[in-house]
Amino acid sequence: MPLLVGAVVAASLQGVAGWWLNSGRGVAVTLAGVFACAVLFAWRGGGSRRRAAALWVGVMAGLAACLVATGPGTIWPIVLVVSAGLTAVTTLAGTRIGGLLHHRRGARP
């Protein structure tokens, strides 16, 4: 489920401001979307690394598909590496925060 949602969310967010790494707005919108997904999945099911990894793989699959569709530029491997780094950090941060929320909810009497 996280894999599919990640791919769909990442791909559809590219429709908001074009390819996300071409503008600051695109970066903000895409990372906010990925972060929200990571928080949501971790909050509902706990902050498992497997779920976070699935989400990240899905996001990267969606982004890579969009990059191919829009025409990969002359430095596309670097673009993918930058994409992977930014989305990985965001996914981890979102999963961590979602995991904390999940534990707080579980600990509530």
């Binding site: 071409n22 969009c66 025409g71 530029g73 002359t74 430095i75 596309w76 930058v82």
Partner: protein, 385 residues
């Protein structure tokens, strides 16, 4: 909807130019009568632009330089000031440090291929000469030529003149590097822009190995209405050029980074630094405004449609797919990579990354850009007082 507007504007301009051309062609035909038809020479592909030389620095350079209103070059013993006359001629006045006029030098445009060069010394007969082929006169060149002829004043009466690279000298005169004699160059553009380049000796961390290096440096500053908008530095010993235009662009290039693109096509001098600074400001400001306008407007359907039929070209100026970083220190990495790709025969493309067995030259470009991205973050631009 930036693209349809741009397309419509381009179409209107094209139709106007076409109509103007047709009208002028008709006018010529009406005046001269029918002319014999001549076959059109076909070209195989798009011809490459002429290589940049010391005398001809390319269309973009000369287009920007042609807008300069006044150029002043300060030497240790004289000051040369060149300006454009309303009829398009170039006029240089060389004075001593107290402001007394010593010589005058003019470039009179005769036609597209011919210029008349006039050198005037008070109390002496004016000397006339024809411009050398392949030399495009600039205000800075006029200053250098006037100063050089003044320095050669004792030898001028003795015999003929000859061209030594881009300068007229008395025949057989010992070579002189006028550019290194200059200590400061100031230019004025319309719109309140002024540029200044000064020569200094300074210490900085080498771009090649990071060690502290002392040597000559040319520091260029561009101002608008007296407020600095950016600066640059040329380190001749290192062959490194660094720049910083806050909010627009920052970075450096040196021999290593330009290796894939064939190295430096010319030796930067004060005039080039001033023109390059103006180019940084103007073209990056323009690119920013276009990015801002193309990002506005257009609904969801248009944006989704853009994903299916991409508007962006596969190879654009800047970092393709990473234009977010176009104003960062990574921009020179991308531009150098683009130059490197274009310099190969056949030119490399995005597919060169996975078709690595096809051409090692493309792989060299790719290796360079990866190395540039991996190490570019270490660069710090130091401003000098």
């Amino acid at each position: 909807m930036g693209v349809p507007r741009a397309t419509a504007l381009s179409a209107v301009v094209f139709v106007l130019v076409l109509a103007g051309a047709a009208g002028s062609a008709w006018g010529v035909k009406a005046a001269d009568g029918p002319t014999p038809a001549r076959p059109v020479q076909a070209l195989k592909g798009r011809p490459k632009p002429a290589p940049v030389t010391a005398g001809d620095r390319g269309t973009t350079y000369h287009a920007l330089e042609s807008e300069v209103v006044r150029a002043t070059t300060r030497f240790a013993d004289a000051v040369a000031t060149a300006s454009r006359t309303p009829d398009g001629h170039l006029a240089t006045r060389l004075t001593d440090l107290a402001g007394n006029e010593m010589v005058g030098f003019q470039v009179h445009r005769v036609d597209a291929e011919t210029d008349s060069l006039d050198y005037t010394t008070p109390g002496r007969q004016t000397r006339h000469a024809a411009r050398r082929a392949g030399l495009r006169p600039t205000l800075d060149w006029g200053n250098q030529q006037a100063y050089s002829l003044w320095k050669d004043r004792d030898g001028l009466d003795r015999g003929a003149l000859e061209w030594q690279d881009t300068l007229m000298r008395p025949a057989g005169a010992r070579r002189r590097d006028v550019d290194s004699d200059a200590v400061q160059a100031d230019v004025e553009w319309p719109g309140g822009f002024t540029g200044t380049v000064t020569k200094k000796v300074a210490t900085h961390a080498s771009y090649a190995d990071g060690r502290q290096t002392t040597g000559p440096v040319y520091v260029g500053r561009l101002k608008r209405d007296g407020i600095e908008v950016g600066s640059s530095q040329w380190w001749p010993k290192e062959q490194a050029f660094a720049w910083s235009f806050p909010g627009l662009t920052e970075g450096y290039v040196n021999v290593a980074r330009l290796q894939g693109a064939g190295g430096w096509p010319l030796t930067p001098d004060m005039a080039w630094i001033n023109t390059q600074n103006m180019a940084f400001y103007r073209f990056h400001t323009l690119a920013n405004s276009r990015t801002a306008s193309s990002g506005r407007g257009g609904g969801w359907l248009a944006k989704l449609g853009g994903l299916v039929s991409p508007r962006l070209l596969a190879n654009e100026p800047g970092c393709d797919g990473l234009h977010w970083m176009d104003q960062s220190i990574y921009r020179p990495c991308c531009d150098t990579h683009d130059l490197c790709y274009r310099a190969q025969t056949p030119a490399c493309s995005s597919s060169s990354w996975w078709r690595w067995w096809d051409s090692w030259q493309c792989d060299a470009c790719n290796f360079d850009v990866v190395y540039c991205f991996a190490t570019g973050g270490g660069h710090v631009y130091y401003r000098f007082p």
